[in-house]
């Protein structure tokens, strides 16, 4: 049932870049963790995925389906056990400057101002300060934090902190933005607002985004394609196109198509294997 990337352009943005080189190429990826007691835990099993430039791909699945492991492998933080992972044509062996990452928590350093937090990657990666400062200023304006540049993280709300973290991830001008449940710690209303905001940031910045979530509505609302994963071992159950036109207003969540797609995903996750296996539903919202 796997829908191949080239089969059908999902929307105008993706169609424009359809013929370009894939920015992410994952081929037959396996990851097995060996515990201290020598038990082997299979986290990812035979994952293959291609993501085009400027595409927004979401990965949804219950806790323990290996989606965070997948993201860490893409970020170069965890080595794969087998298979190939290439970003922008070259294999990922270590953390790379052309990959930005946003974690579930903003992880801002409390002793630095918002601006200095955004400049952190530039300092670490020896990007010329003048250039980085100009870019940081633009990014803060884009996420609506221009007036908060000199504030400290503790003076910001949770949503604002996460927007600062997004600016930080973009300051080294990466091609690919990896997001690991970035809005999981926010309340439901802030979360929907941040979804709209992220859609706008993605369109304005022209980046490719791979976002991991365990919220099915969030995955469908944001994704050009939704990768549905099932756990133990983590497998791709299906990749679903979301042909809802962009920019999607918040009302898109009331669209019959939206309801059908979220319903499909829900059935896929809850009804997998023996019907009513409760283990699969763990952590779904």
């Amino acid at each position: 049932m796997r829908v191949q990337a080239a089969d059908r352009p999902v929307d105008t943005t993706a169609a424009a870049a359809a013929e370009a080189v894939p920015i992410i190429e994952i081929a037959r990826l396996d990851k097995t963790f060996v515990t201290v007691r020598n038990d082997r835990i299979r986290a990812l099993d035979d994952i293959s995925l291609r993501v085009r430039e400027r595409e927004f791909v979401t990965v949804v699945g219950p806790s323990g389906c290996g989606k965070t492991t997948l993201l860490k492998i893409l970020a170069g933080l965890v080595p794969p056990s087998a298979g190939a992972v290439r970003v922008a044509g070259s294999p990922v062996a270590a953390p790379r400057r052309d990959i930005g990452i946003v974690f579930q928590n903003p992880v801002l350093l409390p002793w630095r101002t918002v601006l200095d937090n955004v400049l952190l990657p530039a300092e670490v990666q020896d990007i010329p300060l003048g250039l980085a400062q100009a870019r940081a200023g633009e990014l803060l304006k884009m996420v609506g934090l221009a007036e908060f540049a000199d504030k400290y993280p503790m003076e910001l709300s949770g949503g604002m902190q996460q927007r600062a973290a997004i600016s930080r991830a973009l300051v080294s001008d990466p091609k690919l933005l990896l997001m690991d449940e970035p809005f999981g710690a926010l309340d439901a209303m802030t979360r929907e607002q941040m979804n709209l905001e992220l859609q706008r940031i993605w369109r304005e910045s022209g980046k490719t985004v791979l976002l991991i979530t365990h919220s099915i509505p969030e995955a469908v609302f944001l994704g050009d394609r939704v990768v549905v994963m099932t756990p133990r071992p983590g497998r791709i159950a299906r990749i679903i196109d979301v042909p809802i036109p962009r920019p999607r207003p918040i009302d898109a969540m009331g669209d019959p198509l939206f309801a059908r797609l979220t319903g499909d995903i829900r059935r896929l996750l809850y009804g997998q294997g023996d019907a009513g296996a409760p283990g699969l539903a763990g952590g779904l919202s």
């Binding site: 953390p95 990452i101 974690f103 928590n105 992880v107 350093l109 952190l120 990666q125 400290y152």
Partner: protein, 288 residues
Amino acid sequence: MTVHESVPDVLAGSGAERPGAFTLLMRTRPELVLAPVLLAVIIALWEWGVPFFEVPNYVLPTPSAIVTALWRGLDAGLMDRGGYWLHTGVTVAEVLLGFFIGSGVGLVLGTIISQFRVLDATLRIYLIAIQSLPKVALAPIVVLWFGFGLTSKVVIICLLTFFPLLVNSMAGFKAVDPERLELMRALGANPWQIFWKVRLPSALPYIFAGLDMAAVFAVVGAIVGEFVGAQRGLGTLILSMNAQMDIAGTFSVFIILSLVGVVLHQTLRRIERRLLFWSGEEMRMMGS
């Protein structure tokens, strides 16, 4: 003002206008008034109670006698062996030297040990065991080894201030938020950058807690060292005054010692407040 108009007549009467400055102060920060009042009451009771109950002067002198003794000591020349200036200078020099050397070495060693997991795990149990030993008990031996001069006191203070910094910095580096470390790794930072940009600032609250402790220990160490054997310093002054039954003098030296301790502590607090404005505990201290 509309609120006031809707208040029942009883309250809206004569007394319910704007509260005066004093009332406002009593409502918001009563301790600013009550603390000095309490002190005045205690001193007055003390001054009056000593002659009333016929307490002999060598048991408890009156506050006025202590102030007189303090004035006599401060009125002396800078190098006068009977005055307070010379002895205070010697004790402060011991405290500062011992505090900086002892806590400095403790901090550096604690930092180095905690960067290597094997070293940390191997040494931790011994260091914690040594930390709980009463190191002042070594003062007589240290005086025997290093003589009656400045050195023996500095060594005793080093012994006392070394361990709080060692143990606290180890705890601080161990408590660094793993998410911050993962962020730095994802950015491709090298160990040196991770240390300066994340590990050290994250450990600072623990390090300052250690410095606070060390500052108290430093004054204790100086006095104990001077009790055991010294020619100068506030500790020797206390001993000689005690021998002459000059209790008022002893109390006045105690005031000087308290001042030394308070100044040291306040200086640390000030630096801490500037460096650690971001830490939760500091925010609470500032009352915001």
